[in-house]
Amino acid sequence: MKEYIIIAWRNILRNKKRTLITVSSVFFATFLALIMRSFQLGSYDYMINSMIESYSGYLTVENKDFPDEQIIDNSIEYSPEIISKIKNTENIKSVVPRLSYFSLASFGKQTKGILFTGIIPYKENQMTKLKNKIVKFRLTKSALSKILKTNLSEELKEKLKLLENNSYSDKNSLLTDLKIEKETKSNCDKTIFSNCEYNGEYLSENDDGILISDRLSKFLKINTGDTLVMIGQGRHGASAQGLFAVKGIVKILNPKLDNLLIYGELKTVQEYYSAYEISENSEDTTRFLSTYSVNIINKSKEDIELTKKRLSEVLNNNDIIIRDWKQSNKELAQQINSDDKSGQMMLGILYIVIAFGLFGTVLMMTAERKREMGIMLALGMKKIKLGIITTIEMFFIAFIGLFFGIIGSVPIVLAGYYNPIRLTGDTAKLYEDMGFEPIMPTAWFGEYYLNQVIVVLIIVLLIMIYPVINILRLKVIDALK
C-alpha cells in the first residue's frame, strides 16, 4: 500500500498547476460553505437564544386547550407541586410560571396592544437574567446634547450622534457600540455615562409596578416613574383594567418582543386578569397561569423529545400538554426551517462546484495517463489496484483542499463568534421587521465541520466511480497505442 500512496502522491505533484487549481476549488468551496453555514447556524442559535432560551423556554407546560385557543380561559392551575415535579425531572435546568395575555396599554396619546406577562421576579431572573436587562443608560436627545458639550473627540461625538435614542443595560455594550479602546474607557465615566444614566429597578416580591420593554417604551413615550393605563379582558369575561407605575425599562434581545412585553409581578397580573378562583367551601384561592416555561440542559432534538416524554409521564395529567419550542413558536421554527433550506441549496451549489472541479481533474488525469496505465497493466498490475491509486490521488487533493478550507475558516468563525457582525441600514431594518436583532454571529465549531468533511469525501467517492469503471474497462492494447 505504501508504494501506491507514494505513486499517488508523486502523481499529484506531477502537474502542480492543475493540482493547485483543483485543490483551490475544494478549498474555496469548503471555506465558503463553512463560513456560510457558520453564520447561518450562529444566527439560528442567536434567534433561539433571544427568543427561546431568554423568554419562552424550550418546553412549555400548558392547559391542553391552550395551543388551539390561546385565551385566558384556557389557563393552567398554578401549583408549586407541578413546579416541583417539573424541576425534579431529568435534564431540567429551570422552570418559571408565567401568566401572559394581550391587553391594551396607553400613555398620553399613544396606545398599543401589548403582552402583559406576570412573573415571579426572582425565579424569572434565575432563568432569563431579566434583572440584567434593565436599562441603565439611554442616549436621549437631552442626554446627547449634554454629552456633545463635553470635551470628547469629534470622532466620538459623531459616533454618539448615530446612537441617539439607543438604550443600554451596561457600560460595556455602549462602549462596544462606540468601538472605544480600553485605554480611553476611563474618560467616559464623566463625559458619557454620567450624562445618560437612566433610572430603573427590578420588580420585587408583591410589587405592583411594571417593567416595560425598551422599544415599547419609546413607542408609548413613557419613562420610569410614569403611570401606564391598561385595559383588557380577564378570565371568564371579567373586565381587566389598571394603572401601573413603570419601575424600569428592560431591553429585550428579540426586537418583536421588545416592542410588546410588559412584565408585572405574577400576583399583580393574576389580579388584573382575574386569573384566580376562590373555593366555595374553603378560603383557598386557586390561581392560574398561561404556562410553565421550562429550560433544559441538553438541547438536541432527541433530548427535547425525551424530556417531553419524561415530563408527560411525571405530570400524568390528560388536561396538561407539553410542547417544545418548535410547536409553541411555529413562526420562528418555520423561519429557521425555510432559511435553513435555502442555505442548504447554496451549500448544494458549492458542492456541485467541488464535484465538477474534481471530476474535470480526474477526467484529464485518466485521459492523459492512459498509456502509462496501459504500461502498468502490461507489467502485471491489477486494474483494481490502478483504480485504488487514482482514488488515493483524488483523496489527497480533497484532503488538502479540505484541510486548508477548514484552517482558513477558523479565524473568521472565531471573529464572528466573539465579535458578531452588526448589520446597519436597510438590512438591519429588514432583520428588525422580521423580529430579529440585526446581528450576525457565527456558530461555534461543531457537527457542521464534520458534515463538510463527510460530504466532500462522499463527493470524491462518487466521482471516482466513472474513472474506476473506465480503468476496469481499459484494454491494455488500446491503452498502449
Binding site: E3, E372, I375, M376, L379
Partner: protein, 229 residues
Amino acid sequence: MEIIKVKNLNKIYKEGEIEVHAVRGIDLSFEQGEFAAIVGPSGSGKTTFLNMLGGLDSPTSGEIIINETNIGDLKPSSLTDFRMNNIGFVFQAYNLIPVLTARENVEFVMHLQGKSKKERETRAIELLEAVGLGDRINSRPGKLSGGQQQRVAIARALASKPKFILADEPTANLDSESTNNLLDIMEKLNKEENITFIFSTHDNRVVKRARRVITVDDGKIVKIIENEK
C-alpha cells in the same frame, strides 16, 4: 528447449465494414536462449504478432503456448499474473513510470510479485549495475537520456526473472552509440544468462546481431534466416 509455440495464429481487425488481416496463419516456435528479430515493413504485422506473444492482444484464431500453457485459455486476471511472471517487455518509447526513480521502476514489477523490500532493492541495484546505470539509480526518467531510459527498461524487464523478453523496436529512438551499448548488454545477458530475447525491429544494427531473423510481410512469415554467430 522450446519455450514458445505458435500455431496457425490469425488476427483480423475490423475497421468499420472492412476487415484487416494483420496476422495470417503464423506457425512458429522459439527455443530457450534465442536472440531473434522479427523484421518487416511498417504495417506488416510484426508488432501485432509480438503483442499477441506477450498476451497483450488476443488472436482471432490460433494458439500461443508458452511453457505448455495455452495463454488463450487464461482468464484476464490469470493472464495478467502469467505475463508478470513469465514475460518481460521493452517498448519503443521506454515507457518508464515517470514519477518513479530508476530503482523504483525496476522494483515495480517485483513489488507486484510480492517480493520483500530487501530482495527488491538488492536485485534492482544489481540489474541497474548490470546495464551500466549503477550511478543513476535514484534518477527519475526525466533526468535520463533515451539510451539510459531504455537500459532501465531492460533492467525492469529482467526484474521479474521472465522466461523471455519481448522488445518492440527497442532501438528506434536511440543514436548509434546508445544502440550499440544496448545491444551489447542484451547480447551479454543472452549469452551469459541464457535469457531469450525476441525483437520486432527494422533496425539493421539489431538484425545483424540477431541469430535468427524472421521476416514478416502482409501478416505472413515470408523468410527465416539463421545467422551464424
